[in-house]
Symmetry: C2
Subunit: 128 residues, 2 copies
Amino acid sequence: MRISDLAKATGCHLETVRYYERIGLLPPPVRSKAGYRDYRDSDVERLRFVVRSRALGFSLEEIRSLLTLASRTELSCKQVDGVARMHLAQVEAKQRELAALATELRGMIETCHHDTRATCAILQSLAG
Amino acid sequence: MRISDLAKATGCHLETVRYYERIGLLPPPVRSKAGYRDYRDSDVERLRFVVRSRALGFSLEEIRSLLTLASRTELSCKQVDGVARMHLAQVEAKQRELAALATELRGMIETCHHDTRATCAILQSLAG
DNA sequence: ACTAAAGTCTGTAGCTACTACGGAGTCAAC
DNA sequence: GTTGACTCCGTAGTAGCTACAGACTTTAGT
């Protein structure tokens, strides 16, 4: 399977596949005589895992950890759970941050009387 | 006023001040004989505007626009309003995205029976 | 067999918004 | 005069890609 097939099978951008290999997130695949990358089904699985984890907002470092953890199937999944909970906590923190932002932005926008910029409530609010 | 004073007065990191100057967000200030930057009160105001806008999540390009708009005090603030509303819409979009993420993460975490990694619902969910 | 198009290779540079460094010069206090 | 704090500039690093350029290979069509 060539790199474009892998990309299609996973929904991952082709250049991103090479990037993931470069940073060691994907193992270097076998090469054809001409030097073309040749992927297996297991590579599709691994990259799917990465793509799905990225879609859930995990960082590449978190994904690296998850992949390492996943490889030892016989051990407890406590640490996996830990990574997921930690990430959820970060997402929730970001949610609170954005909620505060949105409230403030809405306040600013509502206060504006749509007059000239000299008296614009938005600009005044941004000025502090 | 020297750069560290400006930084203190605005809560902006010192190196960030130089960065903002380099990218043209702040005007190059007068220099002392020895080449040290010498800031005025108007620079404090402008940088405060930038810092506050950044805290509200505006991008540097949006801030650049806002600063340009703000300088023509006699004109309507319609465009200012537009920038703010656009930004709010982006924040709200991000909120929806994070809400979906959080829901999915919570589902994953709750489904996990805390057994071995081979049967871990989190890992299975990430695998697709 | 020949050609043209499509695919692949590597390495490098760009993006956002900073932050950190090295090595040199400057200023203020003791 | 010397120590320490400050400032200067230019460059490189961060995350997570994405986009080239220029060379090579494969594939499809004639």
